[in-house]
């Protein structure tokens, strides 16, 4: 039986040399990476733009809400709202101030400033 000559086996058609193929593959990879990066940059850019506009809208919304809040809690509006419910509030008189002294209170007082603090409790006449 004759021995089969493996070295003489031939492939039909054009065989691209390995270095050239490597270069082509590398270029293809680079091109794909470039395209992918470009697309990615574009999508990130779009996301940034969306976030930018959201930020502007949120800032404006915050500003509007702060304005409304300031209007609602202005002294005039507060007084009007209290009056609507038949409530009238006045600041306490000197005799209605009760000074609190104590260990805890002293520590707390020293933390902030030297001025004395007063709890504002209104005493009814029957308790005096």
């Amino acid at each position: 039986m004759a021995r089969r000559n493996r070295k003489k086996q031939r492939v039909n058609g054009f065989l691209m040399p390995a270095p050239v193929a490597s270069v082509v593959v590398m270029l293809s990879v680079l091109a794909l990476a470039y395209i992918w990066l470009g697309t990615r940059c574009e999508s990130v850019g779009k996301a940034i733009k969306v976030l930018e506009s959201e930020q502007v809208i949120l800032k404006q919304e915050l500003s509007n809400q702060r304005g409304k809040w300031a209007e609602m809690k202005s002294p005039r509006n507060l007084e009007r709202a209290l009056a609507k419910h038949g409530i009238r509030m006045t600041l306490p008189k000197g005799q209605q101030l009760v000074e609190i002294r104590g260990k805890f209170y002293e520590g707390w007082r020293n933390t902030f400033d030297d001025s004395p603090k007063y709890a504002r409790l209104e005493r009814s006449r029957t308790h005096e």
């Binding site: 733009k49 304005g67 209007e71 202005s74 002294p75 005039r76 000197g94």
Partner: protein, 585 residues
């Protein structure tokens, strides 16, 4: 079909395709590589955008900080239209009626704006709140679109209107703090250069120059909105009760010069400033110059005490109400005989004040008035502040000092008078009044921080202590200012009732009534002035201004938690019994 025919067709199709591609390629190469600058420029111009980025104006808040906003920018929308598009779509009537109904505008006005086929832009309504704008946008009216805009908003409306001022439609501060600090508040608009795609959307990757907008700095005032509210209520009550031409009041911290409240009437709504008149816009606290009347006696007597030309117990003959000097008559409201300086101040004797001034001499009196800040701006930093009128000594006549001593022949602003009284309260140290506490950048950097600043010391502490007691006696029984008393507190002050100049003389019917004072009298913390221009029918400072001084003072000390002094004048005998009959005048 045989093979040759097939091959021919394929070759022909391929040739056509190749030719087409060559043509397109050639055109592309021509467009890109040719030197048609105008083509390039046209394309570039179409795609290139330059945009100024709008900037938020800084906030203004009271001494409580950003929680108590007094002025801020709010985002609103401008309703705009493309008349050409609306006309082309033949929707003028429909769009006009909907817009008119939603925006509460006359239909014909809207129709006129949107019916010009040559125009591509028209404002229908500016500064529409966003909620309403969103409703309008949901209707998707043809040719109608919304643009973002900012509007200055004042949550407290007319409160503190003269101090805050306003911003005109161009965004420029035009009065008050808005004008004074415009360069800080306005910020710096940003700038952006970029390119857009076929849909006119910005391509982020093509963004060139981008300078973000720098928001305006925030301003913190020394004003306390709660005290301000009390003062505003008080001046409103004065306007209702006495029907004056104007009424105003200031609250100042004696030891620092901080202005806690400043209110003036008539006033105006800051959010509708363009509907107010010039008279309402005037800040009378610093812009109204008037003859102060008897409140000035406190300054005259303080100067004389400081110079030692009189003591509190020096006795003057008050001529039983009528005194001729320099050929002119001077009268007291009530007739008095002999009065000590202390009693003369308590009873507000014109003749006594005039005689005290004569002991001082013109030059020294003028020097003292200047050192108390009369005749010059206080430096509070608000636009519209007046100097007042204090003529140089060389222009004084023989009787000038006798009239200036009782607050005639000299004109002041109420802030000058208050500050002078606060100097007496502050051991003789004249503080510079200030209303701007701090300016803070957006990142929290403090750009400017105000500190109490002493302008001088017109009188020494001993004179100041004596004056505090003398002024305290004014609010005691028998004094002209007893209606200024505050429960639990000792109040020191001086009433003023000045006839207004008229036709070269003085009007018998038009007066300026005022009360200026401080409390607690022995250890002052708060100085207050209340001035009423032409009150009716009552016209004296003691009856018109003093009760409102009391009202403002009571609420202020309660709010601030100020405690009455433990050492009271009432418990001390300060008269000393040193009545000097030898020094009778």
């Amino acid at each position: 079909m045989n093979d040759r025919s097939l091959i021919r067709r394929v070759v022909l199709s391929g040739a056509v395709l190749v030719l087409a591609l060559i043509g397109l390629g050639g055109r592309l190469a021509f467009l890109h590589l040719s030197g048609h600058a105008e083509v390039h420029a046209s394309v570039k111009k179409t795609r290139h955008i330059k945009r100024e980025l709008t900037v938020r104006r800084g906030n203004i808040c009271d001494r409580g900080g950003s929680n108590n906003l007094l002025a801020l920018d709010m985002a609103v929308k401008d309703v705009c239209a493309d008349p050409m598009k609306i006309v082309q779509e033949n929707k003028v009537v429909e769009v006009a009626s909907v817009l008119a109904e939603r925006l509460d505008l006359p239909t014909d006005t809207v129709a006129v704006k949107i019916s010009d086929p040559k125009r591509r832009f028209a404002y229908i309504r500016r500064y529409l709140p966003r909620e309403h704008a969103d409703e309008l946008a949901s209707l998707e009216l043809p040719g109608v679109f919304l643009e973002n805009s900012l509007i200055r908003f004042y949550p407290q409306q007319d409160m503190l209107c003269h101090v805050l001022g306003f911003v005109n439609r161009e965004g420029v501060g035009s009065a008050g703090i808005e004008q004074r600090l415009n360069r800080y508040l306005k910020g710096s608009p940003g700038y952006m250069e970029s390119e857009v795609n076929a849909l006119r959307q910005e391509v982020y990757l093509q963004r060139g120059r981008h300078i973000p907008a720098l928001p305006g700095a925030d301003v913190t005032l020394t004003i306390d909105q709660h005290i301000q509210f009390a003062v505003e209520n008080a001046v409103d009550e004065i306007m209702a009760e006495h029907s004056p031409k104007g009424a105003w009041a200031i609250v100042e911290k004696v030891k620092t010069g901080e202005i806690l409240a400043m209110a003036s009437r008539p006033s105006f709504n800051l959010n509708k400033f363009n509907k107010s008149d010039e008279n309402a816009r005037m800040n009378r606290c610093i812009g109204f110059v008037y003859e102060p009347g008897s409140t000035f006696k406190a300054i005259t007597i303080a100067a004389s005490l400081n110079e030692g030309t009189v003591t509190r117990d020096t006795v003057f003959n008050c001529e039983h109400g009528t005194w001729y000097y320099g050929g002119k008559r001077l009268r007291d409201f009530h007739a008095y005989g002999d009065l000590t300086v202390a009693d003369g101040l308590k009873k507000s004797s014109n003749i006594l004040a005039a005689k005290v001034a004569l002991t001082l001499g013109d030059k020294r009196l003028h020097e003292y008035l200047e050192s108390f800040g009369i005749g010059r701006k206080s430096g509070i930093g608000l636009p519209g502040e007046e100097y007042g009128i204090l003529h140089p000594v060389r222009r004084w006549s023989k009787i000038s000092s006798t009239r200036i001593a009782m607050g005639h022949g000299v004109a002041v602003t109420s802030l000058q008078v208050l500050n002078a009284l606060c100097a007496i309260a502050n051991n003789g140290v004249l503080m510079k009044p200030y209303i701007i506490e701090r300016i803070t950048g957006e990142d929290g950097t403090v750009l400017s921080q105000a500190h109490p600043e002493a302008l001088g010391r017109p009188i020494n502490s001993r004179t100041a202590a004596t004056m505090r007691h003398l002024l305290y006696r004014v609010t005691e029984a028998g004094g002209t200012g007893k209606r200024a008393r505050v429960p639990d507190f000792e109040v020191a002050g001086k009433t003023g009732t000045a006839e207004k100049p008229s036709n070269g003389g003085y009007s018998g019917t038009a007066h300026v009534a005022s009360f200026v004072g401080f409390l607690p009298a022995s250890n002052p913390e708060i100085g207050i002035i209340v001035v009423v221009d032409e009150p009716q029918p009552l016209h004296t400072g003691g009856r018109v201004a003093a009760p409102y001084f009391s009202k403002i003072a009571e609420q202020t000390v309660r709010y601030l938690g100020t405690q009455p002094s433990k050492t009271k004048f009432a418990d001390r005998n300060l008269s000393g019994g040193r009545v000097s009959l030898a020094s009778r005048y």
